[in-house]
């Protein structure tokens, strides 16, 4: 847990001759700078909430679960401090200090010498195991945080593919930027954080982040996120995503949110051989337009007629079910071949909610047993709590460990 060399790696935030780069980065309100399509921006590290949660669906991302090697509270504080410094640097888009050629360079070089805005936001989450007896944090655990249970259709045969003391979710405008950010984070916490599992994902963005219009399609070919929450609606976010003071959570958790991650394999070969009528019936959507079956347009309200399609179970639109709405920020993934030479492809489902029970868990229980299960298999993931960013001048984790 010797901070020596990493500190040197990171000593350079001030070397920002590039500060003049026109970044829209501000500390504070993370809603004020809507990106224009095609041009990258930066997201603030500081603020009321972690900016990556409500950032628009990203073109690329990496989602990972990691364990900390710290053995006590002091070492955990050092680890989180280093992680926070590293996150702040990668989100800034600022160049790293040059060193003599006898040293390894301080950054990956993937984004070139100037780096610049690359749409990078990093969401860090605390896992259930962080609150075990190692750090004396049991009484600081968010009240609903728990180890992700096995749901009906889950195939979580390898626990090392799931859970973790921490989650890291990197969002970026390109795969290269996501890889750059993730490698910097791992390198600058080497020896302190041990990755358990990771998935790399992508989205081909097909629309602006407009309510009622899905920005992406999943790898089953269907529009995904038509009824997603509008992350730009601050009141809605306060209602359904951000933990508030009246929620009886530990004080440090106010302004945070619960994160559910699910790596969901899709049996794509099987799916591609399935009749279109059946596919559309399973989802309750038309594949081409995304419109609910029997409706004209994507944004039309579905009429649930008794058959429990995926969208009817996920969002039944019954009185009270609006409390179960969640903010989804997932990625498609392609993971090569499985042991049987079948394509390992699917969805890295990521959702954010003010209440894990009212949000993801309730939705998943309604989905348990759905007909679509024949074509999908959740393989891993985990539950985490995304804390608010540290106060300006404080290290990551300061409020948790105070």
């Amino acid at each position: 847990m010797e901070p020596h060399n990493r500190r040197r790696f990171l000593a350079t935030a001030g070397a920002a001759a590039l500060a003049a780069t026109a970044v829209s980065c501000t500390n504070g309100d993370d809603q004020d700078a809507t990106p224009s399509s095609g041009s990258s921006r930066t997201y603030p590290y500081l603020g009321t909430h972690q900016a990556g949660v409500t950032a628009p669906a990203a073109a690329a991302g990496i989602v990972a679960g990691l364990d900390v090697r710290a053995e006590n509270r002091t070492e955990l504080a050092e680890t989180l401090t280093k992680l926070g410094v590293s996150i702040e640097q990668v989100m800034s888009g600022e160049a790293y200090e040059d060193r003599a050629g006898g040293f390894p360079a301080l950054d990956t070089g993937i984004l070139g010498p100037d780096i610049g805005p690359a749409g990078i936001s990093v969401v860090v989450g605390y896992g259930n195991s962080l609150f075990d007896d190692r750090f004396g944090l049991a009484d600081q655990k968010p009240v609903e945080l728990q180890r992700m249970p096995k749901f009906g259709n889950d195939y979580l045969v390898r626990p090392e593919r799931s859970h973790g003391d921490l989650s890291l979710t990197v969002n970026a405008d390109s795969s290269e930027a996501a890889v750059h950010a993730f490698r910097q984070l791992l390198r600058e916490t080497r020896g302190d954080l041990v990755p358990r599992w990771m998935r790399e994902g992508f989205n081909k963005l097909i629309a602006e982040d407009t309510p009622g219009v899905a920005p992406v399609r999943n790898l089953m070919g269907f529009k995904d996120g038509t009824a997603n929450l509008d992350a730009g609606d601050e009141a809605l976010m306060n209602d359904l995503v951000w933990v508030a003071e009246e929620d009886q959570q530990p004080a440090w958790a106010v302004g945070g949110t619960y994160q559910a991650i699910r790596v969901i394999r899709m049996m794509v070969e099987f799916w591609d051989r399935t009749r279109l009528n059946e596919q559309e019936g399973l989802f309750g959507l038309r594949r081409d337009t995304g419109a609910p079956l029997g409706q004209e347009r994507e944004e039309d309200i579905p009429v649930h007629d008794g058959f429990e399609s995926h969208i009817a179970r996920a969002n039944p639109r019954t009185p009270g079910s609006e409390r179960n709405l969640i903010l989804r920020r997932g990625f498609n993934y392609v993971g090569g071949l499985d042991q049987n030479d079948q394509l390992d492809q699917g969805l890295i489902f990521v959702s954010y909610q003010r209440s894990l029970e009212s949000g993801f868990i309730t939705v998943q229980r309604r989905l348990d047993g759905e007909a679509l299960e024949e074509y999908i298999r959740p393989l891993g993931g985990g539950f985490f709590f995304v804390p608010p960013p540290p106060a300006d001048g404080e290290p990551l984790g300061a409020s948790l460990l105070a």
């Binding site: 990493r6 060193r99 006898g102």
Partner: protein
């Protein structure tokens, strides 16, 4: 030359500067057949820092030359015991001496990359060939295959002879080997990278027949530490804090290894090392590698 596969190969001898040691190539095509790279580190004498004005580093270079000589002598003596046992058909005796003979080799692997083809001749894996029975597959791991898989060394005598001969080439060449200072700094790092490499010790690929990876692992760490010890006076001057960090990380690694055995008492079979223990090793190795990657720059080398 045999077909080179890229599977499991590190950068190794590929980047080697042929000019440096043409003498070592030998005119025996059988020896040179080992175009396979084995597990050697990827140092090329031309690619590392060639000179320094720092007398403390120059002393370290002299010290390392002596260390290498000492290790080579031990290696030849121990390997002869090993190969004699093979030739005598003494399978148990040979197994007992297999890793003892490899220990000096694993400690000085940085110089293997400086001697063309030697690594491929003595430390290649079957992946570099058509399979374990490929006649071009020579060296320790071919004998490991005979001892642990075939449990029959009746036709392994020529392989044993070849190993002795190849190590003699190594010994002869090493006497006149140029040792630029960069070999020390880069070598200390490469020995640790070697442990964590996909085809290295951590994966259990290297000693796949015998499960004795922890022995070679320990020897790699010892070789890296020996380099840091030789460079310690120079590091003391340049960055004492880094030296302290590195020494602490070596201690941590030795403690993890020590929990699983020792050369003297024997290490557990690598198949019995748990995923959690491997994960701990990976973390410690990673941390140490990051520190060692600073040696070259901290000492002002190019």
């Amino acid at each position: 030359m045999t077909t080179r596969t890229t599977t499991g190969r590190r950068l190794a001898a590929v980047v080697l500067s042929v000019g440096l040691i043409a003498a070592a190539c030998g005119d025996d095509d059988e020896t040179a057949s080992a175009s396979a790279s084995g597990s050697g580190t990827g140092i090329s004498a031309d690619d590392v820092a060639q000179e320094t004005d720092n007398e403390l580093i120059q002393e370290a270079v002299d010290g390392y030359r002596a260390y290498v000589q000492e290790q080579i002598q031990t290696m030849q003596a121990e390997t002869t015991v090993f190969t004699d046992a093979v030739r005598a058909g003494d399978i148990d005796g040979a197994k007992d001496h297999y890793q003892i003979s490899r220990r000096p080799w694993e400690r000085i692997e940085p110089i293997a990359g400086l001697i063309e083809d030697i690594d491929g001749a003595v430390d290649a894996r079957e992946d570099d060939f058509e399979g374990p029975e490929d006649p071009n597959f020579t060296g320790w791991h071919r004998l490991e295959y005979h001892l642990w898989i075939l449990e029959d060394v009746s036709d392994a005598g020529p392989v044993a002879d070849q190993l002795d001969a190849d190590l003699q080439v190594l010994a002869d060449t090493a006497e006149t080997l140029e040792l630029p200072p960069g070999v020390l700094t880069v070598g200390a790092l490469e020995l640790i990278e070697e442990v964590a490499a996909p085809d290295g010790k951590l994966s259990g690929e290297e000693e796949r027949y015998s499960g004795t990876d922890l022995y070679a692992f320990q020897a790699n760490v010892e070789g890296s530490e020996a380099l840091v010890d030789l460079l310690a006076p120079a590091l003391e001057e340049a960055d004492a804090e880094l030296l302290g960090t590195i020494n602490g990380q070596f201690d941590e690694l030795y403690a993890q290894l020590g929990a699983l055995g020792s050369y003297e008492a024997g290490f557990i079979n690598y198949n019995d090392v748990t995923e959690d223990q491997k994960s701990e090793f990976a973390a410690t190795l990673g941390e140490l590698s990051e520190s060692l990657s600073l040696l070259n720059g901290v000492l002002g080398l190019e």
